[in-house]
């Protein structure tokens, strides 16, 4: 593990927050060699916590992937897709359970908690897109997206805004 990754391991970040997704992005960008093995990721993904905001309002985070990096992480005030190719939506409890499961598995979810497992039937997570070719980005880069969220095992998550 590189020194950069070691440093990040010490971080404690709350979920859901822009900083939490930024941590995932930082982890990804610190592991460029792995990204080069997996290949290009070119898409804008939105991760939505449907009831993560004040009063149970949705909170959405838009991550822009380009080449081997996550180049931007933005909190967006609405669950509308905007420039995102697709959104992966789930409620707070589902996100929390998935993150805890990945942490328990030291960076690998069990059979019941992979992104595709949770989203394939449209529940408890849901893939949202307005165009099938843009929705296909979720599949084209699925291993990379899985490893993007798996990186949450490298830092400490505290739950609650």
């Amino acid at each position: 593990m590189s020194a950069a990754v070691e440093v990040m391991k010490a971080a404690t970040v709350s979920f859901p927050s822009q900083a939490w997704f930024q941590q995932l992005a930082d982890q990804m960008n610190a592991n460029r060699a792995r990204q080069e093995q997996l290949g290009y990721v070119d898409c804008v993904a939105q991760f939505t916590v449907l009831d993560g905001g004040p009063g149970g309002a949705p909170l959405a985070y838009r991550v822009t992937f380009e080449e081997f990096s996550a180049i931007a992480v933005d909190e967006v005030p609405t669950r509308e897709l905007g420039v995102a190719d697709f959104a992966l939506e789930g409620d707070y409890a589902t996100w929390k359970e998935m993150i805890e499961n990945i942490v328990d598995g030291h960076g690998r979810p069990d059979l019941e908690h992979s992104l595709n497992r949770l989203s394939h039937m449209g529940t408890p997570m849901k893939l949202v897109s307005t165009d099938p070719v843009q929705a296909d980005c979720y599949f084209r880069f699925n291993q990379s997206l899985q490893e993007f969220v798996n990186a949450c095992a490298r830092f400490t998550t505290v739950f609650g805004r």
Binding site: L38, G39, Y40, D42, E67, R108, L111, S114, N116, R117, H120, M121, G122, D131, P132, V133, D136, C137, F139, R140, F141, N142, Q143, Q146
Partner: protein
């Protein structure tokens, strides 16, 4: 007493003779016929070499695109980067070079002396172009993986027999179908003129992807117990793809419909996988498959958008889809596919009924995704779709 067996005494086995004498004779006759064309070139070359003189005509850049250097972008040097250089990126609407002379080279002075490859029959750019084809080619190269070492095979553990057999049967189905998705692009790859090099390059990546898919499912089955049953229904669907009358029709049937459904099977496979090994296999494969599907959607979209008689083009696609959907349905209703999926979905042979309920739910999703892909390509198939929107499971009971 018998003679001892010695190598020199062994008779050759009675094997069928593999060379087709008539084909060899045809080949000889053909090149004798064209002798005046190529032997003249050979004669001039030999004479020049004997004289000890140089031609150096290749230093002359007239009529060429010499001197405009391509610049790499952040990813290296892509087709998009070199296509920006004037003279290289003009993809002809209609190809009229039926040999291997590279697009952008100085080739016009030699046109009359070059052979014609009669197999290059896809002359219309809009029979194969898709706006995402260069992106998908770069992505495919960057996202290759190795079925031998990238799957954690050492973690594979034996499953209860019903689940193992269901997994191995699903893998047998996938092994059977994967290579048509290689043979179909291969068939059209060699019919495509060199001027459409970007599409040829992408099709070559699809060939590699499908080789790997066939490999990984074959390995998974044999590592888990063995291959199980081949099925006539799969075979008819595969033959219908291979026999498609045009590249666009076959690409619709293979990439948009067939691989769209296989992508759904991979996603379902990942969801119902009983081992991390299977999860990783399906996740890796579904990434490749989604590229093939994306090409299929945008190829059809471009074909219809540029069709000189759009209504007629759409009607022809409908006629083709009327047959194609039914033949694909023959595969996707085979017991050797839906039953193992139901067993995995239900969690065992005892729970196959529960699995079929889940499959019925997925079916609706799969067909809806297919219709969305058609609509996105400008091909509204919803009113004419011959595949039932709901799996008619048990309606006759």
């Amino acid at each position: 007493m018998n003679e001892p067996i010695r190598v020199e005494n062994l008779q050759p086995l009675d094997q069928p003779y593999l060379m087709d004498e008539a084909q060899l004779a045809d080949y000889e006759a053909s090149y004798r016929n064209d002798y005046h064309a190529w032997a003249q070139v050979l004669g001039e070359n030999v004479e020049r070499i004997r004289r000890g003189s140089y031609s150096l005509h290749w230093l002359n850049t007239d009529g060429g695109n010499w001197g405009k250097r391509a610049k790499p972008s952040s990813r290296g040097l892509t087709y998009t980067d070199i296509n920006r250089v004037r003279g290289y990126g003009d993809i002809p609407q209609r190809a009229d070079w039926f040999n291997f002379a590279p697009r952008g080279s100085i080739r016009e002075p030699y046109r009359d002396r070059m052979p014609v490859v009669t197999d290059y029959v896809v002359t219309n750019r809009d029979e194969l172009w898709a706006d995402n084809v260069i992106t998908l080619y770069e992505e495919a190269k960057a996202r290759q993986w190795n079925a031998t070492k990238d799957i954690p095979w050492h973690e594979l553990e034996a499953l209860p027999e019903d689940l193992e057999k269901a997994t191995c049967q699903l893998c047998t189905f996938l092994t059977e179908v994967e290579f048509v998705a290689g043979d179909f692009p291969a068939k059209w790859l060699y019919r495509t003129p060199q001027d459409f090099l970007e599409v040829k390059s992408f099709l070559a990546t699809q060939l590699m992807d499908e080789a790997r898919h066939q490999e990984v499912f074959r390995k998974r089955a044999i590592a888990g117990g063995g291959l199980l049953h081949a099925s006539p229904g799969f075979e008819w669907a595969l033959k219908a793809i291979l026999d498609a009358p045009s590249h666009t029709m076959g690409t619709f049937l293979l990439n948009l419909l067939g691989e769209g459904l296989v992508l759904s099977v991979f996603r379902s496979g990942e969801m119902i996988a009983k081992t991390q090994v299977d999860k990783e296999i399906f996740r890796r494969c579904l990434q490749d498959e989604a590229r093939h599907v994306s090409y299929g959607v945008l190829e059809l979209k471009n074909y219809l958008a540029t069709h000189p008689q759009r209504e007629q083009g759409i009607e022809e696609m409908h006629r083709f889809a009327d047959v194609g959907e039914q033949v694909i349905l023959t595969a996707f209703t085979e017991a050797a596919l839906i039953e193992p999926v139901a067993v995995l979905l239900g969690g065992g042979l005892k729970h196959i009924d529960k699995g079929m309920e889940g499959l019925a739910h997925m079916w609706r999703m799969f067909i809806d995704e297919y219709l969305q892909r058609c609509a996105s390509a400008g091909f509204d198939r919803r009113a004419r779709c011959t595949i039932p929107l709901d799996l008619p499971w048990g309606v006759a009971k």
